[in-house]
Structures are given as structure tokens and as C-alpha cells.
């Protein structure tokens, strides 16, 4: 049974994640939703701050005891908080009109284990930012990139507030992930019947124009209202501009096409886009 996997951490974006998930579920014909909340493993952040470097009688036993005690206390609080998050999720999902959902809590790190949970998911929904969203508005959620990188399925990155989605823009570069996006649109009822802007940034050539035309034909045949847009400039600026001008509600794009090493040097368009654009983003790998 496929489903929509929505990952929450109870942050500011959580409500929006639930609402996006509920919307996607309704679009896809009452698809079941799986809300997943991860309790981060305690050992990620050492709790002791003892730099004395001295080890005395029974140092090993004492240290083990101390670590277990500290982590147990933290884990209990985390569990309580996690329970509250899931209860809140249930209320919000019901309010948004979702009928089929399951709530789940696991120990572990989302980025490390998402692949086991997303295996039978048709769509993954994440918040654009996680906890501490207010403190670092310029940054992405710490987990987001790692999670997106390990996902095989399309990822819907929710913006802060959910708005009904009527139109979307597909950033089209003729590459494999944009073709994948076109296929997804044809096969999947998620965005059926909406206005679609096929946007290509950069100078045109015969190849890309043919690809755009082909994509347009295919999408129109599948019932979309398609407009082709070709503009010059930096992808980031152009896409932002198109989004602002056109009253567009959702951005579709390929994600992290390049290696980490290249990204270290030239930076990642994907991360930059998710960061600056004010609407939800649907990513294809």
C-alpha cells in the first residue's frame, strides 16, 4: 500500500506540513497519510561537560552510569513532547479533512533512516525548516538537504503557511529529473487540471525547444493548461521573479543534480531555491 509520508518535528512548519499532506491526500483520491516523528538519538549531543581529563576509582562504571542517567531524563522529556506533537498532528489532520492517516514515532535520525520509511511512499512531505526556524531564517532545516538527498521519491517541501494550490511552475532544463517530473505529472493526479508554466532559464537552442514542445504536448494531452516561458538570467533570480509575477502556488524542480564536492565549490541551486522562494517546492531526484 503506497502512502504519503509526512515528517514532522513539531516546529513552526509542522501545521503547514500536515495541511500540505492532507491536501495532497485529497488530490490523490484520499490517499493514506503516514505521519512520522523521529526522536533524535540521545548520543548525538554529548551532555556532559567534564574536561578535567582525570579518571579516578571506578571511572568507567561511574561515567556509564552518569551518561545513562542524563540520557534517560532527556529521552523521557523527548517522548512526552513527541506524544504531544502526534496528538497535535491528529487534530490538525482532522481539521484539514484527512480521513486516512496513521501516526508513528521512531527513535533515530531522519536523514539516516528515511529510506526505510519512504520505500512505500508515493510522496514525502517535509517542512522547509525545522526547530529553531525563527533563529536562523537564512538557513535551511538542518536535516532537509540530507533527507532530500537520500529520498528516491518526490519530496514536497512545505512553506510556512499552506495556501490552496491552483497553478505551478516547472523549472525545465531538459535533464533527467525534469523529464521525471513531466512523467510524474502525467501519471499522478496530484496537480491534475492546474495551470502549468514550463519555465526554461537560459538561452534557447533547438534541442531544448524541441524538448519543451514535446513536454508541453504530453502535458496538455494529460489535461494540463500549459504555458512555455523562456528567460535569460540566473536561475535563482528568474524563478523567483516568475513566481512573484505569476501568482504561482508551487514550484517543481530537480534536486541536487550535482555531487557534494561540486556543491562545496559552486554552491547548490536547489538549496538556494528552497531558501529564497516563498512557495512550497516539489523536488524530483
Amino acid at each position: 500500500m503506497t502512502k504519503i509520508l509526512a515528517c514532522t518535528d513539531g516546529s513552526l512548519y509542522a501545521t503547514s506540513v500536515y495541511e500540505h499532506a492532507a491536501w495532497a491526500s485529497q488530490q490523490m483520491g484520499d490517499y493514506p497519510i503516514h505521519i512520522l516523528h523521529m526522536l533524535n538519538p540521545h548520543h548525538e549531543e554529548p551532555l556532559t561537560s567534564d574536561f578535567s581529563g582525570s579518571i579516578g576509582f571506578g571511572a568507567r562504571a561511574a561515567l556509564l552510569e552518569e551518561l545513562v542517567e542524563l540520557e534517560a531524563a532527556n529521552a523521557r522529556i523527548a517522548q512526552k513532547r513527541g506524544k504531544a506533537i502526534l496528538e497535535d498532528a491528529e487534530v490538525k489532520l482532522k481539521a484539514a479533512g484527512a480521513t486516512q492517516y496513521q501516526l508513528n514515532q521512531k527513535h533515530g535520525k531522519l536523514s539516516a533512516e528515511i529510506d526505510t520509511y519512504e520505500r512505500d511512499a508515493a510522496l514525502v512531505v517535509l517542512g522547509k525548516r525545522g526547530n529553531n526556524a525563527n533563529f536562523e531564517t537564512g538557513h535551511l532545516g538542518s536535516n532537509l538537504e540530507r533527507v532530500i538527498r537520500s529520498c528516491q521519491h518526490p519530496v514536497l517541501v512545505a512553506s510556512r503557511v499552506f495556501k490552496p494550490i491552483q497553478s505551478f511552475v516547472l523549472a525545465f532544463d531538459g535533464g533527467s529529473s525534469s523529464l521525471k517530473a513531466v512523467d510524474y505529472l502525467i501519471q499522478n493526479p496530484l496537480l491534475k487540471g492546474m495551470c502549468c508554466y514550463l519555465l526554461h532559464v537560459g538561452g534557447g537552442n533547438a534541442g531544448i525547444e524541441a524538448a519543451l514542445a514535446e513536454a508541453k504536448d504530453k502535458l496538455e494531452a494529460a489535461g494540463y493548461e500549459v504555458t512555455i516561458e523562456q528567460r535569460d538570467g540566473e536561475p535563482e533570480d528568474v524563478i523567483n521573479k516568475v513566481v512573484e509575477d505569476g501568482q504561482i502556488d508551487l514550484l517543481l524542480m530537480g534536486a541536487y543534480g550535482h555531487s557534494r564536492i561540486r556543491q562545496l565549490i559552486v554552491g547548490s541551486t536547489t538549496s538556494a531555491m528552497i531558501r529564497t522562494v516563498q512557495i512550497p517546492v516539489l523536488l524530483f531526484r
Binding site: 540521545h42 554529548p46 567534564d50 582525570s54 579518571i55 576509582f57 537520500s150
Partner: protein, 493 residues
């Protein structure tokens, strides 16, 4: 996925890892120097080794957050080699140790750790602590009362300071204070300093090929040492990794750790260092200071080298008293004090295994032999305990012409005699039924005992019937048993 996990093992905790690495590096310096002195080599050999091993194992090890460097367990094994054959043979022995460890890692011998029982592990760490402690005693020779005073003062600083603040490493404060006192009071003339123990590194380690003839004779000299070193290195590393696993509630890759230890020893050997392995005490310090990732081990190695190259001049003036105090702390911290209390609580066989491991190690100065003795003894105790699970009941039929023996439990070489002696051959019976449906025959001795019982009854004119033998036992009987074959005769043995 694997790549991103490795990435996380490095960078999930960078700030604390670097702080912890610094604390560890400061504690590593006295240890590396002290262990060099135990092995009878210049302090720079241990320091280069600690740098190489820590840095390399950070990349190739299987247990993030564990600290490996030159260790006492390895140093005591090197004493004979260095004394009899010289430093030149230390380096090829280190390289060969690494090669053996890589082989062990690729044969997945790390899994053999399951045969090392809890009591042997406790014995190992206790023996290690005792060896480290005893190695400090020669430092007191001909040094007079001042030495005792200095060491006592050092210990007071090490254990007293953390009661007031845990923000600074107390062993470091101990070293600084004692060095200051020694210089200020002019004690350097009478008290030994690190500089008196041999040369310290003034440069980065350089790649060098061992200066020994590459022939069979060399190989024969270094092989026995390398085998002991490889075993002890892997044992201590795997034990330590289990300890760190417990601390951090995470898993480690034991076989990768074996191979990693091998690679780091080879590198150490080529850069003029001695063999090393994981360190229990340092790993505890690392976790205690918040180190969790590979970065902590890496930082420890790098900072160690920077400190030693930049401050080499000062390091040579550290009085040995300060080093001895730090090493006594390490010894105390390594020893499992609860094991003394547990002597009363634990089963007597566990305690015997632990004590035998300690005694064998302390007497031979070879942890491999200690662990070997411990493992052997625990296996014997286990065999004995299982053999006592054998229970044989019998019932005489009303006619008094037949008796049924029912055997329950495990039949193998230890319990075979008990089994054979449980039957009464003097009783005059027509038939004897031996019900073995709740027994299992494990080996030749068990089948042999059954043979003897059956044939003895036959000689008394009694018919013997065996019922309920399970499939595995039947197969064994078919292969080696005699009673069910024609013309069976009782074997001489």
C-alpha cells in the same frame, strides 16, 4: 548511504570533538612518553606512534570516538625485543603486527571475541592497570624522598582540582605546576626529567624504511613478538570498542576496527613509531569530555604533534614525577575496582578466571598469555558445569527381569565417565532399556561410553535396547559406534 554515514561519523559533533581531542592530546603526551620509557626506547618513538596511529585510525577505524595510540599493553611486549635486538627490529615488528592484524580483520577473527568472557575482560583490564602501575615503580629508584613528595602533590592536584572545576584538564595543571616547581626550586639537578629519558621529536615524522636485513632470520626474530602484539592489540581494541559502544549506545564495526588497527600500525612502523592499539583510559577521557566522532581521534593526534613540536623544549623539562603521577591516575582509572567487591558476589569460577588472567599476565608481562589462560579456564569451567547437567534415573519392572534407565542431559568427553558409572552391571536382568530421548551425544567419548555400557551388559547376558535416540546422535553412532554392529567387541580403551 554508507558515504553519508561516514560523513556523519566525522562531523556530527565537531565542536565538542575538537575540545575533547585537545583534552585527550594533553593526556596522551605523558602517556606516550611513559610507554616509550617502559619499552626502552626514546620518547619520540611513542610520540610519533601516537600521532600516526590516532590520525590513521580516525579514518580507517570501526569505532568512532575511540582513542588509539602507543599503549602500555604493547610496550611491555616490546621490552625484550628492544633489549635483545635493538630499536631497528622494533619497526619491522610493528609493521608485521599491522599485517597480521589486517589478515585477522579480513578473516573476520573479530568474531572470536565472543569466546572471551566477561571475567577475562575484567582480568585483562586489571592486569593492564597493574602493569602500568608497576612500570612506574623503577622511576622512584635513587630519587629520594623529593620524588615521593612530588608524585603525591601531583596526585592531589589531579584528583583535587576536578572538585573545584572541570573546565581545565587536571593532569595538565599537575604537569605545569610540577614543572614550575622543579625549575623554580632547582630540582632538575637531582630529579629525572623527560629530557633525561631520551630524545624528543623536533620535526614531523618522516617516512623511513626499517634498517634491518630482510631475511628469514629477521623474520624469525620479529614473528613471535608480532604475533603477541597483534593479539594483544586486537584484544584491547575490541574490548575498548565494546566499552565505547556501551557509553555511547551505538554500534561499531569490529572487523573494520581490526583492519584499521593493522593499517595504523603499518603506518606507525614506517614513520618510526612503535606498535599501539586502542586505549581504555584515554577513550574514557574522550567520551567524558564529550568526544563522539572520528574527528575527536583525529584532533587528538594532530594536536599532540603540534604541541610536541612547538613545545619540545619545555616538554623535556617536565619532571618524571609529574609523568608518574599521571600514569598512576591512568592505572587507577583503568582498574576495575568493582571487580574486587564482586569477588564475594560473583560465582567462584568467574573470580578464579579473573584472578588467573591477572596473575598470568603480571607474571609473564604478556596480556596475550593471560587472556589465553583465562579463556582456557573459562572453557574448562563451562564444560564441567554442562557435564553436571547429566541425570540418570532407573526403574525396575515389576517382574524384576527388566530395568529401564532414563538418561537426561549432555553427553560428551567430560560427562562420559559419569554416564558409564551410573549403570549397575551386577544386577541380574534379562533386558535393559536405555531411554536417551532427553539426552544428546556430542562426541566420540560419549559414543564410546555408550558402547562400553552396551557391550558390558551383553557380556552379562543381558539384552540391551536403546530408545529415543535423536537424529544427530544416531548419525554419530552410525559413524563410530560399535554396539550396533555385528561381532562387537569391547575396545581396549
Amino acid at each position: 548511504m554508507a558515504k553519508s554515514k561516514y560523513f556523519q561519523e566525522w562531523f556530527s559533533n565537531p565542536k565538542r570533538d575538537i575540545i575533547a581531542g585537545t583534552v585527550v592530546a594533553l593526556a596522551l603526551i605523558p602517556e606516550a612518553i611513559a610507554f616509550s620509557i617502559i619499552a626502552g626506547v626514546d620518547p619520540k618513538v611513542g610520540l610519533y606512534a601516537s600521532f600516526c596511529i590516532a590520525v590513521v585510525i580516525a579514518f580507517v577505524g570501526g569505532r568512532p570516538g575511540m582513542i588509539s595510540a602507543a599503549t602500555g599493553a604493547m610496550a611491555v611486549l616490546l621490552v625484550g625485543l628492544v633489549r635483545d635486538h635493538g630499536l631497528e627490529y622494533l619497526l619491522p615488528a610493528t609493521i608485521l603486527t599491522g599485517i597480521l592484524q589486517i589478515i585477522a580483520g579480513s578473516l573476520k577473527l573479530g568474531n572470536l571475541m565472543r569466546f572471551v568472557s566477561r571475567s577475562v575482560v575484567t582480568g585483562f583490564v586489571n592486569a593492564l592497570a597493574i602493569i602500568i602501575f608497576m612500570a612506574q615503580l623503577p622511576q622512584f629508584k635513587n630519587q629520594g624522598l623529593v620524588m615521593y613528595g612530588m608524585v603525591a602533590a601531583g596526585l592531589i592536584i589531579i584528583y583535587g582540582l576536578p572538585r573545584f572545576t572541570t573546565a581545565v584538564p587536571s593532569p595538565l595543571v599537575c604537569i605545569i605546576v610540577l614543572t614550575g616547581v622543579s625549575i623554580a626550586l632547582g630540582l632538575e639537578a637531582t630529579l629525572n626529567t623527560v629530557g633525561d629519558m631520551g630524545s624528543l621529536p623536533s620535526t614531523l615524522p618522516v617516512f623511513l624504511l626499517p634498517d634491518v636485513p630482510l631475511n628469514l632470520e629477521t623474520f624469525q626474530i620479529i614473528l613471535p613478538y608480532a604475533i603477541s602484539l597483534a593479539i594483544v592489540g586486537l584484544l584491547e581494541s575490541l574490548m575498548t570498542s565494546t566499552i565505547v559502544d556501551d557509553f555511547t549506545d551505538t554500534d561499531s564495526n569490529k572487523n573494520r576496527e581490526c583492519t584499521g588497527q593493522g593499517i595504523s600500525n603499518i603506518v606507525s612502523g614506517f614513520f618510526g613509531g612503535m606498535a599501539g592499539c586502542a586505549m581504555i583510559g584515554q577513550s574514557v577521557i574522550n567520551v567524558q569530555s564529550g568526544g563522539r566522532g572520528r574527528l575527536s581521534t583525529f584532533a587528538a593526534g594532530i594536536i599532540l604533534l603540534i604541541l610536541i613540536v612547538v613545545m619540545g623544549g619545555l616538554v623535556s623539562r617536565i619532571p618524571m614525577a609529574a609523568l608518574v603521577a599521571v600514569m598512576i591516575m591512568v592505572s587507577i582509572g583503568t582498574f576495575s575496582w568493582s571487580s574486587i567487591k564482586n569477588l564475594k558476589v560473583h560465582h567462584v569460577t568467574s573470580s578464579i578466571v579473573m584472578i588467573v588472567t591477572v596473575l598470568t599476565t603480571v607474571l609473564t608481562h604478556n596480556l596475550a598469555k593471560g587472556v589465553g589462560a583465562g579463556v582456557l579456564l573459562s572453557a574448562l569451567f563451562f564444560a564441567y558445569k554442562v557435564s553436571r547437567l547429566l541425570k540418570i534415573d532407573s526403574e525396575l519392572e515389576v517382574s524384576k527381569k527388566a530395568r529401564t534407565y532414563s538418561v537426561r542431559g549432555q553427553l560428551f568427553f567430560v560427562s562420559a565417565n559419569t554416564f558409564a558409572e551410573a549403570f549397575d552391571f551386577r544386577e541380574v536382568l534379562e533386558t535393559v532399556t536405555i531411554d536417551v530421548s532427553e539426552a544428546h551425544f556430542w562426541d566420540l567419548s560419549a559414543i564410546n561410553a555408550l558402547d562400553r555400557v552396551v557391550l558390558k551388559f551383553r557380556r552379562e547376558g543381558t539384552e540391551v535396547e536403546i530408545v529415543g535416540m535423536n537424529e544427530a546422535s544416531k548419525t554419530l553412532v552410525l559413524q563410530v559406534g560399535k554396539y550396533d554392529k555385528e561381532g562387537a567387541e569391547l575396545d581396549a580403551h
